[in-house]
Amino acid sequence: MSLLNVNNLQVHFPIRGGFFRRVVDQVRAVDGVSFELEPGETYGLVGESGCGKTTTGRAIIGLNKATGGEVLFNGDNLATMNGHDRRKHIRDIQMIFQDPYSSLNGRKNVLNIIAEPLRNFERLSPKEELTRVQNMIERVGLSPESIYKYPHQFSGGQRQRIGIARALMLNPKLIIADEPVSALDVSVQAQVLNFMQEIQKDFGLTYLFISHDLGVIKHICDRIGIMYKGRFVEEGTAEDVYNNPQHLYTKRLIAAIPEMDPAKRFEKMELRQEINTAYRTEYDSYFDKDGRMFDLKPLTPTHSVAIQQGGM
């Protein structure tokens, strides 16, 4: 059975206006997204800013309320559960945030930051708590005495490790990583990505990896979902999506990855211009009469794409 099953998830935000600030319209941030995560895999959600990828992640963990659809975690629907029932399940899902500078409380030392999930869910004596925190801090490669330091005393990469340590404290099954390396320099980014892969093996973690960086996604993910305007455009294994993109939007995203071979730069530029022209002329044929993206249609068992029934 899959670990997480997201079915037709919708997150709509009301737009209020007019008389008595009634709801006049909805922003459909996430508009019918479905995917599933097998235990131990890394699933990548990619898209440009504003496509709804972060909102999807936040709706799964409960930071935004889902307005429709279901989020089945181990078979239980988290989307309709009340807070009390949710609490039993929620400790198995943790989140790593984008910006290691603002996601750690600057007034707390590392011990208090990392022990917070423990204090929420387990009753431990201060001594037990200290040993658990010390073990974890060593596991993420920080020195034991650093638990009495404050976030500002660490570098960006080290802070992201503290964020990861906090997420790992309750031995979660699923980690939602929202742009975990976007704020970091390349060399630090490499460090954090390697580390995330290492702990994935050791702790048997499943990742939902949200990012706009297609290079990073390709490096770390097994399967990828491409999002645009709150809907899925294409879904498949990393190979399907990068080597055989079907939807024009996916092609456009992949052509936008900077070419690492200086000799091919003008080739790449022409390819992009071709795709952009096609994108302008064929844009309408990728959307139905209400301006919504089509539903995903399977091409192969692993690869599906949002095009009209019966092909283009």
Binding site: A190, N194, K218, Y242, R265
Partner: protein, 339 residues
């Protein structure tokens, strides 16, 4: 060789921290030719933005000390009084900033903002000025120039705003453009568009461009020559093809192998040990990259590392590149294994 536009000689930018001056840019020399894009790459804290700000004179004059020379059109910009510098900035020397959200004035229309440098540097009738603005908007790929002319920055998307910032920089036909992370704040597809636009512009204008970035992908797409910066110094200068096909300095090689590129498969990425030293703690004697490659023996480094020209136009600092290997690589000579 094309005409030299900008010549930086032994530039040293020092910041005053608690009474002492520490150099963030430490003896940098570089020439930029006509119609050439020179990229300056490095991690945050290596001094690349400090270098850009010193060239254009936007540093805080109270806490910053500049030494050396920045020659543009036979004048040393560092010695000029502000009034004279203002005659050059925005005219001969244009700047493209990182974040188009903050670089534009929210209270002025796009048309007025592009015309502003022309008011200051050129005497044009208002009709000629408007014509020029519309022409510039067309050059930077904005189709509906007449409508955009009257709009305000908040009405435009990030990519459009960056195009406007580029149009402002180009307004007075600068001979030299400084682009400080021009695509960093943008989405991938927009980034690709802006990169392509800048390549187009380079074909039609003659200006030299200094492109400051941390993204080696952007460098590979846009630069003619590349200077890799580490701890305030250039550690490698080469033309772009050489740099990507035959990188020599350990820092360049480490940077290149730490990118999750779209070509390699799921191997482990290379991690550079340690962190970029802060300018106060930096050991200025010896090879500055040595602490981050501790497995290379000390005698591989020079005592006072200088730039060596290994091939015509390819410069590498220090001698440690000859003995450098990644820790996981097998080494033939056992004398060079220290760990």
């Amino acid at each position: 060789m094309a005409e030299t536009v900008l010549e930086i000689e032994n530039l040293r930018t020092s910041f005053n921290i608690k009474g002492n001056y520490y150099a963030a840019v430490d003896g940098v020399s570089l020439t930029v030719h006509k119609n050439e894009v020179v990229a300056i790459v490095g991690e945050s804290g290596c001094g690349k933005s400090a270098l850009a700000l010193s060239i254009i004179g936007l540093h805080n004059t109270k806490t910053t000390k500049l030494e050396g020379q920045v020659n543009l059109k036979g004048q040393n910009l560092l010695n000029l009084p502000v009034e004279k510098l203002n005659k050059i900035r925005g005219k001969d020397l244009g700047m493209i900033f990182q974040d188009p959200m903050t670089a534009l004035n929210p209270l002025a229309t796009i048309g007025r903002q592009i015309a502003e440098p022309m008011d200051y540097h050129m005497k044009l009738s208002s009709a000629a000025k408007k014509k020029r603005v519309l022409e510039l908007l067309g050059q930077v790929g904005i189709k509906d120039a007449n409508r955009i002319y009257k709009q305000y920055p908040h009405e435009l998307s990030g990519g459009m705003r960056q195009r406007v910032v580029i149009a402002i920089a180009l307004a007075c036909n600068p001979v030299m453009l400084i682009a400080d992370e021009p695509t960093t704040a943008l989405d991938v597809t927009i980034q690709a568009q802006i990169m392509d636009l800048m390549k187009e512009l380079q074909r039609i204008t003659d200006s030299g461009i200094i492109l400051i970035t941390h993204d080696l992908g952007v460098v590979a797409e846009m630069a003619n020559r590349v200077a890799v910066m580490y701890a305030g110094e250039f550690v490698e200068i080469a033309d772009v093809n050489t740099l990507f096909s035959n990188p020599l300095h350990p820092y360049t090689r480490s940077l290149l192998s730490s990118i999750p590129s779209n070509m390699t498969d799921k191997e482990e990425l290379h991690v550079i040990e340690g962190i970029v030293p802060s300018i106060q703690k930096l050991d200025r004697e010896g090879c500055r990259f040595a602490p981050r490659i501790p497995w290379i023996s000390e005698d591989a480094h020079e005592d006072k590392p200088t730039l060596h020209e290994v091939e015509p136009g390819h410069f590498v600092r220090c001698t440690c590149y000859k003995k450098f290997h990644f820790p996981e690589e097998r080494v033939e000579d056992e004398n060079y294994v220290t760990t």
